[in-house]
């Protein structure tokens, strides 16, 4: 149903997000994505995570098999990763915060968890915000919009698009190669070195298959006049309407508002992240 999950899906255009130009969707979330890389507090990513997920829930159609991925995965990731990420990077100040868990001499501090939470929230929020265009735009529309409005040469756009088709094929081919190598007794050995060796063995057959396939695809596209003219007929245009500009403006305004006020208004309710 979407660019990220299933690039070819057709959309029912019932929900408003699917009617927005894909380029507008991308432009709308771009400032939020940049901001999320930079912020260090807890409130800002939390607000973005909630807003993005809410927007998708209300204004987009998410096919049933993808609902867990869209609505549960970001939050689950935030909670799980928060427990471990802090262990890598907690600054010395964390040691002065209350102890949550004690295992013999080892202590897990509240500050450690908060440092982890700040990072995992940012990653989770990035993912949730990226899902807004991700679940709303279809692959062909992104290519069409990019060709029509960004002057991306259609040869580049459609070639990239054809490359999408390779992905499931490779997945299947890789599974077969792994089974074949296992049968031949290549599964032996543990540890990273054996793993690297195993994967190195998959590369040659996988590449050989990929090159052959790519060659055939190229021939088949040439045989159907791909690249014959500087432009090609587009049956549907993906117009940029005033409403798209409005959507982008609104999204940017919301982003600015969150960045300006969320730390101050909500920050008071949240514990300070050590070292932030």
């Amino acid at each position: 149903m979407s660019l990220l999950l299933d690039p070819w899906a057709q959309h029912h255009r019932s929900r408003p997000l699917h009617r927005v130009n894909p380029l507008a969707l991308m432009a709308a979330v771009l400032p939020a994505l940049v901001a999320l890389v930079l912020v260090r507090d807890l409130a800002t990513p939390l607000v973005f995570l909630l807003l993005a997920t809410g927007l998708v829930a209300v204004c987009a159609h998410v096919a049933r098999p993808h609902r867990v991925l869209v609505f549960v995965l970001p939050t689950a990731f935030v909670l799980l990763a928060s427990l471990t990420l802090g262990l890598w990077s907690a600054p010395a100040e964390a040691a002065t915060t209350p102890v949550l868990v004690r295992l013999g001499p080892w202590q897990y501090h509240l500050g450690t968890w908060l440092v982890g939470l700040a990072t995992s929230l940012r990653l989770g929020a990035l993912f949730a915000v990226a899902l807004v265009p991700g679940v709303s735009a279809t692959g062909p529309d992104v290519v069409r919009a990019a060709v029509q409005h960004l002057r991306v040469p259609y040869r580049v756009g459609y070639t990239a698009f054809a490359a999408f088709r390779f992905v499931p094929r490779f997945g299947h081919e890789l599974a077969t190669i792994r089974a074949a190598h296992r049968v031949r007794g290549m599964a032996g050995g543990r540890g990273p070195l054996a793993g690297v060796r195993r994967w190195a063995g998959y590369v040659v057959p996988l590449l050989a298959g990929a090159l052959r396939h790519a060659e055939r695809v190229a021939l088949a596209m040439d045989a159907r006049a791909f690249g014959a003219h500087p432009t090609r007929t587009e049956r549907h245009t993906v117009p940029l309407r005033p409403s798209d500009a409005g959507f982008v403006a609104a999204a940017w305004a919301v982003t600015a508002a969150v960045l300006l006020w969320a730390p101050d208004l909500l920050g008071g309710l949240m514990p300070a992240v050590p070292g932030a």
Binding site: P7, W8, A9, Q10, T138, G139, P140, Y158, F161, A162, R165, P168, R169, E173, T176, I177, A179, A180, H181, R182, V183, R184, G185, M186, A187, G188, G201, V204, P205, A208, G209, H213, R216, V217, A218, L219, A220, M221, D222, A223, R224, A225, F226, G227, A228, H229, T231, R232, T233, E234, R235
Partner: protein, 624 residues
């Protein structure tokens, strides 16, 4: 000139870079409107290459030296861009997967005309017309990936139609399809031809499927020269012996008639289709007696005692493969339901069924590629669910569809040594056994070559060799003839015959039912994950269980089962069961005597040697 010239090839020769000779070397063709021309020739004669020159892909997209000229609608194909030629000549390739670019059936058909800047309303009109002609209009919103193999190839034909080109070139369009898919594609193509607005150039080995469609035949010899040309009947029936001598396949009905002529059945003209064969036989008052069921004779004669192979305990008399109540689930779907099956030593058992019937799943469970549930499968006394990979590999070998997938080393010799090294066989014994298999599989000259650089047939032999060198007495092959031409397929099947004669047990998944008829001792028919029938191949192929499984009778069985007279002949499925014919060899060597003359000495020597080789390998396996 009365009619406009669509396409003319004038003494065309093509030399690929790095190759010494031109294949094709000298082919001329004038295509008339509405005409269907079939291009025949042994593999390596350059048929596909010639097909690619017709719309300029050779030399524009595939760099090669072209001599002679191709003229398409007055344009020189050597200098006109492919994109312009594609308005006049449209191609359909063997691998339908490789031609899918977009996400829906409709977008796919529109892709070509859109590239040609056809106005949008006309693009849609053409797409609808093309999709309706191949029966896919109702599925226009589907992802091409969910279509069946036959459906995807019909889509490829629709894409070619939508380009609006008056000439269609199809390069082995059904080589990757199951029998139902082949029928689908030819039904669609028949409609296209009947409409009369397209000329067709067809490269196809499966003559039984296409012969009734063809007007004219061009025959290339092994060196790529045009040696025969004429109306389909004059060439295929009138010059049948010459074609056989060239190593070209013939329709099964024609082969059968040639054989029967030898037994004194008079044919005024050789038949090309099953219906013609049937009519000719029904016109006879009496026919010579059938040779006594060679199928049974062969199974009985399988020389169990001929070689001192030591088989795992208790397997000598009982079944080598025993499957009991095997069910396999994949995700929420049950792909195999309660399958029980016995395969005895020295049988060649073919697993047949339409795509998705569960054939490969069953084969993989038997060979332990995907571990089956415990206590459902026993192979050579081992349960693949428990046995460790190395121990299992000593008894059962799995040959994947694409040989490249199972190559793990950098030279042919290492590849063969691999299985033995894994089993920690002493070094000098490894060397001896590798040399042995290299010699017997005709690979001695290539021992230091990287396996990926071998030819297609050599790769296939190596992949069989790598599993036999470890001493496997059970061989499982997954669609080993998929996408290969008949000659390669025949070479492999001859090799399997030799192994079976020597006591190896073979299980093979295949779509080619005539090959099953000619080589398998037994067959198991699967449909929707259930085993519909299992028994001697000759019985099953004459039974309507094939139809219930969504399959088709192999061409000979289909032709003879409809006989009105000669009741005893109705259940004949194999060419070699017919009286007459050359006194020695299988139907395949009978069918292509010069095949062995030209690929030749090497192949038949290989086949003969491999038989011995399997015994040797198995013996060696037994002693380790």
């Amino acid at each position: 000139m009365s009619a406009p010239l669509l396409l003319r090839a004038d003494h065309v020769g093509v030399r690929h870079h790095g190759h010494a000779g031109f294949t094709p070397s000298d082919v001329s063709l004038d295509l008339a409107p509405g005409e269907v021309v079939l291009l025949l020739g042994p593999s390596g004669s350059g048929k596909s290459t010639f097909a690619l020159t017709l719309d300029g892909l050779v030399p524009h997209a595939v760099a090669a030296e072209v001599r002679g000229s191709v003229t398409v609608a007055g344009l020189d194909a050597g200098t006109t861009p492919v994109a312009r030629l594609s308005e006049h000549v449209a191609l359909v390739f063997q691998d339908a997967d490789a031609s899918v670019v977009t996400g829906t059936v409709l977008d796919e058909v529109c892709f070509g005309p859109e590239n040609l800047l056809v106005p949008a309303p006309e693009v849609l009109a053409r797409a609808e017309d093309a999709l309706r002609r191949v029966g896919l209009w109702e599925r226009r919103a589907d992802d091409p990936a969910v279509l069946s193999g036959g459906g995807r190839q019909r889509l490829a034909i629709a894409c070619a139609l939508a380009l609006g080109a008056p000439v269609l070139v199809l390069d082995e369009p059904t080589a990757n399809l199951d029998p139902a898919g082949i029928e689908e594609v030819y039904a669609a193509l028949r409609d296209v031809v009947a409409a009369g607005d397209r000329s067709v150039v067809l490269v196809e080995h499966n003559l039984d499927a296409c012969v009734d469609l063809v007007d004219r035949v061009l025959v290339l010899d092994r060196r790529g020269r045009l040696v025969l040309e004429g109306p389909v009947r004059d060439v295929l029936a009138g010059r049948a012996e010459e074609l056989l001598a060239l190593g070209v396949w013939l329709p099964v009905a024609t082969l059968a008639a040639l054989r029967l002529r030898g037994a004194g059945v008079p044919f005024a003209a050789l038949p090309l289709t099953g219906a013609e064969l049937r009519q000719a036989l029904d016109a006879e008052e009496t026919l010579p007696a059938l040779t006594p069921a060679p199928g049974a004779a062969r199974v009985a004669a399988s020389p169990v005692a001929a070689s001192p192979v030591s088989v795992a305990k208790g397997a000598a008399d009982g079944p080598v493969v025993r499957v009991r109540g095997l069910s396999v689930r994949r995700g929420r779907r049950t792909v195999l339901h309660d399958v029980s099956l016995d395969v005895r030593r020295g049988e060649l058992c073919a697993l047949v069924g339409v795509n998705g019937a569960g054939k490969t799943t069953l084969l993989q469970a038997v060979a332990g590629v995907v571990a089956p549930p415990r206590d459902t499968v026993e192979v050579a006394g081992l349960d693949p669910a428990r046995a460790d990979v190395r121990k299992l590999a000593r008894h059962v070998g799995f040959v994947f569809q694409n040989p490249e997938h199972q190559f793990v080393r950098h030279t042919v010799a290492e590849e063969l040594a691999h299985a033995l090294e894994v089993q920690r066989v002493p070094r000098d014994e490894i060397a001896a056994r590798v040399d042995d298999v290299l010699a017997r599989f005709g690979l001695s000259a290539h021992r230091e070559v990287h396996p990926f650089l071998l030819s297609g047939g050599q790769k296939r032999r190596l992949s069989v060799g790598t599993v036999l060198v470890a001493g496997a007495t059970v061989l499982a092959l997954d669609e080993p003839t998929f996408g290969q031409d008949r000659e390669r397929a025949a070479e492999l099947l001859d090799l399997l015959d030799q192994l079976v004669a020597d006591g190896t047990t073979v299980l093979v998944v295949t779509h080619d039912l005539q090959l099953v008829a000619d080589h398998a001792s037994h067959a198991a028919v699967l449909a929707d994950g259930r085993l519909l029938a299992h028994g001697p191949a000759a019985d099953l192929l004459a039974d309507d269980v094939l139809l219930r499984a969504g399959l088709r009778r192999p061409p000979l069985a289909a032709a003879l089962s409809g006989l009105e007279r000669h009741a005893a002949w109705r259940s004949v499925t194999r060419l070699q069961d017919l009286p007459g014919g050359p006194p020695t060899g299988s139907a395949l060597s009978a069918a292509a005597p010069s095949g062995s003359a030209a690929v030749g000495p090497a192949v038949s020597a290989t086949a003969a040697a491999v038989g011995a080789g399997a015994g040797g390998a198995a013996r060696a396996g037994g002693t380790s």
